[in-house]
Structures are given as structure tokens and as C-alpha cells.
């Protein structure tokens, strides 16, 4: 349980890195999160990408963007299901906290920006943000969380999620090239 707790603290640092990419957080604002709060952050990070995809499905007419958005909704919902299942197994109930709130605040700004755009400009803004967002999450998981994780279950979940995120990034970059023409 002590191991799990340490890992969840590390996970909170990862969440913070992600939040730094999407929203500016002051240097001393480095909250130690409880297990339920960390579970919330993991769920929120995936929900944010789903919410971007839902906007894309409403606003875009580009077949490649629509297909990509559908995949984001399906895959990130699956990751949420896995994260919730693991949280349940570890006896954790997701709870709101400063990091999940700052992630959501950053997402609100991005959503506003996306909603203000139309046509090709929207498609470009959406896919550019997807490339950035996936890069940030991959970087955080790969360079920090996996090397420091001792918990076998958490490690295997992260290892299972990472190839999907990398494939999403490759997919996003492919669409980005097409859309920028």
C-alpha cells in the first residue's frame, strides 16, 4: 500500500507536467494529491481529449478529422474504463482537486479557441492541439512515470496505454500533414 501511495504521488507529478503544458501553473503550486485525487486526474486527462473530439465531430466536415475524433472517443473511453477499474481495485474513488481543476481550466480555454474557428482553420487548430497534447502526455508517462513505477499493475497499465498514445500521435501527425496542404 505504501508503494501504491508513492506511485500515486509520482502520478500526481506527471499530472502536473501535463497541466503545465496545457495551463500555466505557478512554481510553488505543487500540490501533493491523495489517491482519490490522482484517480480523478487520470480520468480528467482522458475526458479532456474526448471533449475536444466531440467538438470536432460537430464542427468538422473533413473525413480524416472525423475518423480520428471517433477513434479518440473510443480509445480514451477505454483507457478511462481501465483507470477506473484499477482505482477501484486499489480502493480509490476519484475526487476533484487543484490539478484536475487546472487541467479542466486549460481545456476550457482550448475549447473556446476551437469553438471560435471554422472550416479548415478549425481542422488545423484541432489537429495541432491533438499533436501537442499527445506529445505532452507521452513525454510525462515515458520519462517520469514508467521508470519510477514499481507497482506491476500500474506499470502494465501504463505500458498498455503508451503504444495507443504513440499511435494516436502518429495518426494525428498524418492527418496534420493532409490538413495543412
Amino acid at each position: 500500500m505504501e508503494n501504491t501511495r508513492n506511485l500515486l504521488i509520482k502520478l500526481s507529478r506527471v499530472a502536473l507536467i501535463i497541466s503545465l503544458v496545457t495551463v500555466t501553473v505557478s512554481a510553488q503550486d505543487n500540490p501533493k494529491l491523495t489517491d482519490p485525487e490522482v484517480a480523478s486526474v487520470a480520468v480528467v486527462a482522458n475526458q479532456i481529449d474526448i471533449s475536444y473530439a466531440e467538438i470536432a465531430k460537430k464542427k468538422s466536415k473533413n473525413e480524416d478529422i472525423l475518423q480520428f475524433a471517433t477513434t479518440m472517443i473510443n480509445d480514451h473511453n477505454e483507457v478511462i474504463a481501465q483507470a477506473v477499474a484499477l482505482a477501484k481495485k486499489l480502493g480509490v474513488t476519484p475526487a476533484d482537486n487543484a490539478v484536475s481543476k487546472s487541467l479542466l481550466a486549460g481545456a476550457e480555454k482550448t475549447k473556446k479557441m476551437l469553438k471560435s474557428k471554422r472550416g479548415k482553420a478549425f481542422d488545423r487548430a484541432y489537429i495541432d492541439n491533438e499533436v501537442t497534447y499527445h506529445k505532452a502526455v507521452i513525454e510525462a508517462i515515458e520519462s517520469l512515470l514508467i521508470p519510477e513505477t514499481d507497482n506491476a499493475e500500474l506499470k502494465s497499465l501504463l505500458n498498455a496505454v503508451l503504444p495507443a498514445l504513440k499511435t494516436h500521435l502518429g495518426h494525428a501527425e498524418t492527418v496534420q500533414k493532409k490538413v495543412s496542404k
Partner: protein
């Protein structure tokens, strides 16, 4: 009498030839019994990425990932599996060499080579 025996002998010879043909044919066709190949989808990859097979062989794609995938012929979308959910599979008899990809994750690619 001897003519009858000769005819019988000829009849047996023809019969023998017939069975020899049947056996030869069945031996020949036994070499062409279609095989079943498995392609696993895991870690967002088709494993093996390139599969060599004979015309008429069946390929079963087994999705071992958490997320759903599909299998779509690449050049003309000549055939497609539809969604293959996690822990599900889909099969198809293969007649031509084909490049294929996952239409849900377009960077996932595989290749079937009919030798």
C-alpha cells in the same frame, strides 16, 4: 476363355489406373488443403506485420489490445472487417496479396503475400 481373362485383366488395369489417379489427385489436393494463419493485433501492431501464405488460406486476426481495431484492404478498400472489439477476432480467406491497414488507427499497417 483367355480373351475373357485378358478383358478382365484390362478391366483391372483400368480400374487400377483409376484408383492410382484418385490417390494421386487426393495426394495432390492434400498439399493444397487451405491453412489457417493467426495475425495477432497487440501493442497497436499487426503481428506478424508481413505474412506469407498460399492462395485460399484463411487468416484470423485476433485483437489482444484494450482498444478496438479493424482490418481494411489498403489499395481500393476491397474488403474490410468492420470493428474488431477487444478480445474478438475476424477471419477471411485470402486469394490475393494485399496490403492492409487499420482504418481506426491509420498508421497501423500489415501485408499479406500469396506465394
Amino acid at each position: 476363355m483367355s480373351r475373357i481373362y485378358t478383358q478382365k485383366g484390362l478391366g483391372l488395369f483400368v480400374l487400377g489406373l483409376f484408383f492410382a489417379c484418385v490417390i494421386a489427385t487426393s495426394c495432390d489436393s492434400s498439399q493444397k488443403i487451405p491453412k489457417v494463419h493467426i495475425v495477432e493485433i497487440r501493442g497497436m501492431k499487426f503481428v506478424p506485420e508481413e505474412l506469407h501464405l498460399s492462395k485460399g488460406d484463411t487468416v484470423i486476426w485476433v485483437n489482444k489490445d484494450l482498444v478496438m481495431h479493424d482490418v481494411t484492404e489498403e489499395s481500393k478498400k476491397a474488403w474490410a472487417s468492420g470493428i474488431i472489439a477487444s478480445k474478438s477476432s475476424w477471419k477471411r480467406a485470402i486469394t490475393n496479396s494485399s496490403d492492409y491497414y487499420c482504418n481506426l488507427h491509420v498508421v497501423m499497417k500489415g501485408k499479406l503475400v500469396v506465394d
